[in-house]
């Protein structure tokens, strides 16, 4: 894998929650198709606010927009729970019944590729 090695976690945000019933909207897209990184990590990646990053795990790859969150320690990225994060999460629960939504090894790199809209992202599962 190319790019910086990180740990990926997912979770709720208030704006994500406000749009639980409106997931096809711009507001949801702007909040959830996002990777939150510590500012130092962004510097290392040469990524500025609103740049796109490619996040890759052993299970898939996804393009999301970068946002700064210095609450994250270095090496920890946070993608809000939702379709973009789930594009790189494994469906194998190792018999525990629970997928690994948090604590997934990933790499992050700057990219010029575009972020897929929700419907486009769903269509990638139909190929």
């Amino acid at each position: 894998m190319e790019g910086m090695n990180v740990r990926l976690i997912s979770g709720r945000t208030a704006v994500q929650g406000q749009n639980l019933d409106s997931k096809l909207t711009e507001k949801y897209f702007d909040e959830v198709a996002v990777c939150n990184l510590n500012g130092n990590d962004m510097e290392k990646l040469n990524v500025a606010k609103d740049d796109y990053v490619k996040v890759t795990t052993a299970y898939g790859t996804v393009i999301v927009k970068a946002k700064q969150d210095d609450g994250n320690p270095e090496g920890l990225i946070f993608i809000p729970m939702g379709p973009w994060c789930n594009a790189v999460i494994s469906g194998d629960t190792h018999g525990a019944g629970m997928p690994s939504f948090k604590g997934v090894d990933a790499t992050v790199e700057k990219t010029a590729e575009a972020v897929l809209q929700v419907k486009e992202l769903m269509r990638t599962y139909m190929e």
């Binding site: 976690i9 945000t13 208030a14 406000q18 019933d21 997931k23 210095d70 629960t93 948090k102 599962y125």
Partner: protein
């Protein structure tokens, strides 16, 4: 304009029940007070699915309720291993019909606990759960711990109504008389409020629980200088806060159910609570995400004996989480149809599980279009529970509260939709003379 009080919010597990709404021309026009920003968004409503639809040649085409229900029944009737998934954002009355349907067609019935607090249920099945209702916390707790959770964003009224900011009988001073400890892998809006923020290295919560248990049981000598990224001094500080407390309450979230040791994290969290109980009154509670996920667990349990991932294909209840949980079934391609109700696996399941969902006939029952709609072959729009349909729900502490019906609608409630599908399935069976 009519003002309606004591409205019950139907979004998160807080189930706030003192909401005041303004209704005009059969529409909720204002949320006057009581709701957080997330609840407010729910109550004010969003763009709806306009009509039932059936997918033809890749496109969703509008149809009647009757046609959609008939099509859904056909799919389920013909299916050899149907999955009925979701249930966490509807009322118990609908859940009961769901179990009846699952029993009738030999389906697997599973709910969102599988991707949320399922591990907590597994932990309870190992060690039990020392807990209480939220009013106990409000009235007694002087030490509140949030572990792997960010209520400021996910359960925004929680601290105000039930735990840290709230005022109760022995907690009349509110925040002033209490201590807030937040354990998380990163700083959040919740950790900002904490008296003590403990930053745990991602994936190391299990070790931190163990270390605290050791200290509380008088074995601090075996604890090294750093555990899971946390300095021993800070662990000792938290332990002495526990010992000095009169009533300790721990709330925990996905930060510990989703990572590494999964349900073992929760077992350890509960054992940590028991160790605390040697020094003070100590209870613990999972922060349930949806307003009635606790309810579907309750209904399934009293009706089948088991709380989630129940396989009824043998004609009797079979419980083996990890085998019959929805994501596992989809990952293994071990179901041949799916009815998704009151939930959104399209958004919240790992992508790898969605490949199979894309292949199998899928029915969606929901008021709103969402990523799951892309996979649906039949879409049945439902009334919004708590606004257009009433019914029973269970708050995160298992207190049952009745949602109110605030306005009228032409949309059918979930209970009626599932009831009609069941009736149709039975009619199909009778026709075939089985």
């Amino acid at each position: 304009m009519v003002e309606i009080t004591d409205v019950v919010c139907s979004l998160c597990g807080c189930v706030c029940d003192d909401i005041v709404l303004e209704v005009e021309n059969n529409e909720v026009v204002k949320v006057k007070r009581g709701a957080c920003s997330v609840g407010k968004a729910k109550l004010l409503g969003h763009e709806r699915i306009k009509s039932p639809m059936i997918r033809e040649n890749g496109e969703l085409k509008e149809c009647s309720y009757d046609e959609a229900i008939k099509k859904a029944a056909e799919i389920l009737y013909k299916s050899r291993r149907p999955l009925l998934y979701g249930w966490s954002s509807t009322v118990c009355e609908a859940d009961k019909v769901g179990v009846e349907l699952a029993e009738d067609i030999g389906a697997i019935i599973d709910n969102t606990a599988s991707v949320c607090h399922g591990p907590s249920v597994l932990a309870i099945q190992d060690v039990g759960l020392p807990s209480c209702t939220l009013g106990e916390v409000k009235n007694r707790a002087d030490l509140v711990i949030y572990w792997g959770a960010n209520p400021a964003q996910a359960h925004a009224n929680h601290m105000k109504r039930y735990s840290y900011v709230s005022k109760g009988y022995w907690t009349a001073e509110g925040k002033k008389g209490k201590k807030l400890v937040v354990m998380d892998v990163r700083k959040t809006m919740t950790s900002k409020m904490a008296d003590v923020f403990v930053q745990v290295k991602q994936g190391k919560d299990y070790q931190v629980f163990s270390a605290l248990r050791a200290i509380l049981r008088g074995h601090e000598d075996v604890v090294p200088d750093e555990v899971g990224g946390v300095p021993k001094a800070q662990l000792l500080e938290v332990a002495s806060m526990v010992k000095e407390a009169k009533f300790m309450m721990t709330f925990f979230g996905m930060g510990v159910t989703h990572t590494g040791a999964r349900h073992n994290n929760i077992v350890n969290a509960i054992q940590f609570t028991r160790a605390a109980h040697l020094h003070t009154k100590a209870n613990i509670m999972p922060l349930r995400g949806h307003y009635n996920v606790a309810g579907i667990n309750q209904v399934c349990t009293w009706e089948t004996g088991f709380p989630f991932a129940i396989d009824l294909s043998r004609g009797y209840p079979w419980y083996n989480p990890g085998e019959a949980s929805a994501t596992d079934l989809l990952y293994r391609a071990d179901c041949d149809s799916a009815m998704i109700i009151a939930s959104d696996p399209g958004a919240h399941f790992p992508g790898e599980s969605l490949r199979h969902l894309a292949k199998i006939p899928t029915i969606q029952i929901d008021p709103y279009a969402n990523p799951t709609t892309e996979f649906a072959d039949v879409v049945i729009p439902a009334a919004v529970s708590g606004i257009e349909a009433e019914g029973n729900v269970y708050r995160m502490d298992n207190v049952p509260i009745r949602l109110r019906k605030i306005i009228d609608t032409d949309y059918l409630p979930d209970e009626e939709i599932v009831e009609r599908i069941l009736t149709e399935v039975r009619a199909l069976r009778e026709k075939e003379g089985e």
